[in-house]
């Protein structure tokens, strides 16, 4: 009876929320009030795939949903922002019959790193994908090892772990379950034999803290490593990017399947690989997976083309409080090679909370922008002066930098100054403050 009531109310609120154009965690929250352990009594479909990690959760889940639908599966998945327990309850209960059976073939569940253990107290995912553990929102997350400790108790023994073998910290999770499937990338031409970032989180073995040795780095602490003491090392991979050609935006998986990239970033490569692994494990034909990815354009707005006065620009949505995301955007700009100006905006540090925490600026390798192709840099937003101090500790020439805290004033200035190309780097939290002052352009 409680099941009936909780599901009914959840579905009703979900329906009303839909009419109001609001997806949210509220229906789940109410259902959990009526029946706190309802999720333990739901009849789940054969495949329940959880995806967690610092970066790439949303993109991986959205892409996998697209492919699974193309393969004829009925899929439900949650959106970014509803990845805590109430969000998971909303998603699952809204798709339930009144007797508590989920009407779909696959549940794809993006889970917040810190809340996974509260969700998987009630049911076990059949597959548990962990993408990476990087310095992300340290304000609330502490540090990657702290996040590791939060995720660890959420892993049920009987789940199939799907782990990024290239991340030494993520690889430690393998001890938690009986079965692990590995994905990773072989050595590529763009790899480095040294860590090129500001900090090196792969320097010491996450298990025993002896020094680790890398054969190569893809980026940050992601690469091929082995511990000099305890033997912890990159595992042999089941799903492998055997070749990645970022210049021609093309990768090959397991030596056979070629995939075109809509956005040639390493992030995207890992998202595609994780997604490929999920689909293959659920039984989708690998050729179909590849053709679906090829037709899938990243719709999440992380790349937007705009016009600002006399200039054409590309908006690269990055994440504040996430140095790897910034590094990746800055490297993308420099790798394009053409002459350009770069706008960096840090106004609201977080979308979720008020904070003046800016230590993460010191983890970002802004020195990348000392490249000759970068002709000018505009620093804007409430933290423009903090950015300016940060740049004063890089090799970037001060003549290249203009500081204009007011975003409108900065945009007006840039609009009048011709550049061959513009790039804007900022977070979701500050995206519209800039884009609303420009005109959107189609690809």
């Amino acid at each position: 009876m409680r099941m009936f009531a909780a599901v009914l109310i959840c579905r009703f609120l979900h329906f009303v929320g839909g009419l109001l154009g609001r997806g949210s965690s509220l229906p789940g929250l109410v259902a959990l009030k009526i029946y706190p352990d309802i999720l333990a009594h739901i009849k789940l479909p054969k495949a329940v795939v959880a995806v967690t990690g610092s970066n790439g959760k949303t993109s991986t889940v959205e892409m996998a949903a697209h492919i699974l639908k193309a393969a004829g599966k009925k899929v439900i998945f949650n959106r970014e922002g509803s990845n805590q327990i109430a969000g998971a309850a909303s998603l699952i209960l809204s798709a339930c019959t009144l007797s508590g059976r989920v009407k779909c073939d696959v549940i794809l569940l993006e889970t917040d790193e810190r809340y996974a253990r509260h969700i998987f107290k009630y049911f076990s995912p059949t597959h548990y994908v962990i993408t990476n553990l990087l310095r992300d929102q340290l304000t609330r997350n502490g540090h990657p090892e702290w996040v590791y400790n939060s995720i660890e108790p959420s892993i049920p023994r009987d789940t199939v772990l799907v782990l990024n073998a290239d991340d030494p910290l993520v690889s430690c999770f393998a001890d938690r379950a009986d079965h692990t499937v590995w994905f990773g990338m072989d050595k590529q031409p763009f790899d480095t034999d040294k860590n090129t970032g500001i900090y090196d989180d792969g320097k010491f073995c996450p298990k025993c803290k002896a020094p680790q040795v890398y054969d190569y780095y893809h980026f940050n602490h992601i690469g091929s490593y082995h511990c000099t003491a305890c033997g912890h090392k990159k595992a042999d991979t089941d799903y492998t990017v055997t070749s990645a050609d970022l210049d021609n935006a093309e990768i090959v998986i397991n030596n056979t399947h070629k995939i075109k990239l809509s956005f040639a970033s390493l992030y995207n490569v890992y998202n595609i690989l994780a997604c490929y692994a999920i689909c293959s494990l659920i039984g989708v034909d690998e050729k179909l997976t590849c053709s679906s990815i090829n037709s899938y354009v990243l719709k999440n707005g992380r790349i937007v083309r705009y016009r600002c006065g006399v200039n054409h620009g590309v908006f690269l949505v990055s994440k504040h409080e996430n140095s790897v995301s910034y590094d990746s955007s800055l490297r993308y700009i420099v790798q394009r090679g053409g002459e350009c100006a770069v706008i960096i905006i840090v106004d609201s540090v977080s979308r979720r909370y008020e904070t003046g925490e800016i230590s993460w600026l010191w983890d970002v390798d802004f020195g990348i922008l000392s490249a000759d192709s970068v002709k000018h840099i505009y620093l804007s937003g409430k933290h423009a002066d903090d950015l300016s101090v940060r740049f004063s500790y890089t090799d970037v020439s001060p003549e290249k930098i203009t500081v204009i805290p007011d975003i409108g004033e900065m945009t007006d200035t840039v609009a009048k100054t011709p550049y061959k190309m513009l790039y804007t780097v900022t977070c979701f939290s500050d995206k519209e403050k800039f884009l609303s002052r420009t005109q959107k352009e189609e690809d």
Binding site: E145, F204, K209, T355, G356, I358, S359, W362, D363, Y393
Partner: protein, 222 residues
């Protein structure tokens, strides 16, 4: 002037390496020549002479790395103490906990500290996270706190808290520790970057110390 960035690769979080750069810049602006040595946790020379440095710095670490740092530095306890007694200034951010008596982790396991000072810390599974406004000797300071420990039995605190959190839930008015030439805090940001007056304070201490050293040198010669 010689600065040592201790265990720069093991105790490295929240961009706090920049504290050393801020101090270097402040000293250079006073006309000093500054040399920074970086001590790796993977390779600590047995005969390292901490007293040969004017300034020692150690940054924040994960709880696991902090415990490793305590073990790695234990054999050098007396050398660090001799340096501090001899006038070397030290700033420890976060990891100042290891220079106290002990650190008890959230499961009750105890890591021995270097026992240079009488405080001890107790970790929990909750993090204390807060924007911070504080004051030290008339210098206003802003920053951020992100720790999972409470620190007890501090004789002389570093900062008076104006807004934010202190050394423990029981004491939200005092943050960090001072003992002689040793300064410890959990304020990140980085502290000396966001608060140039604090960088100036340490620069001034070092310059005064050098004058005294110079004076002694002259005395010895006469």
């Amino acid at each position: 002037m010689k600065l040592l960035h201790m265990l720069y690769d093991l105790c490295s979080l929240y961009g706090d390496y920049a504290n050393v750069l801020a101090l270097k810049r402040a000293l250079e602006q006073s006309g000093e020549q500054v040399e920074i040595d970086r001590l790796s946790a993977a390779d600590i020379p047995r005969d390292i002479d901490f007293s040969s440095y004017d300034f020692l710095y150690i940054g924040p670490a994960t709880e696991k790395n902090q415990a490793v740092a305590a073990k790695l530095l234990a054999p050098f306890r007396d050398g660090i103490k001799a340096a501090l007694d001899g006038g070397t200034i030290m700033l420890a951010v976060g990891t100042y906990e290891i220079f106290g008596k002990s650190i008890t982790d959230s499961k009750g396991a105890v890591t021995e500290g270097l026992d240079l000072f009488p405080y001890h810390s107790v970790q929990s599974e909750q993090r204390t996270v807060s924007d911070e406004q504080a004051e030290f000797g008339g210098i206003p300071v802003i920053g951020f706190i992100n720790r999972c420990s409470e620190i007890y039995d501090i004789d002389e605190p570093f900062f008076t808290v104006k807004q934010g959190v202190g050394n423990s839930a029981a004491d939200n008015t005092h943050e960090g520790v001072i003992s002689g030439n040793f300064y410890g805090t959990h304020i990140i940001g980085p502290l000396l970057i966001r608060n140039p007056d604090m960088a100036g304070y340490f620069a001034k201490l070092l310059l005064e110390r050098q004058e005294i050293k110079g004076g002694n040198y002259a005395d010895n010669r006469s």
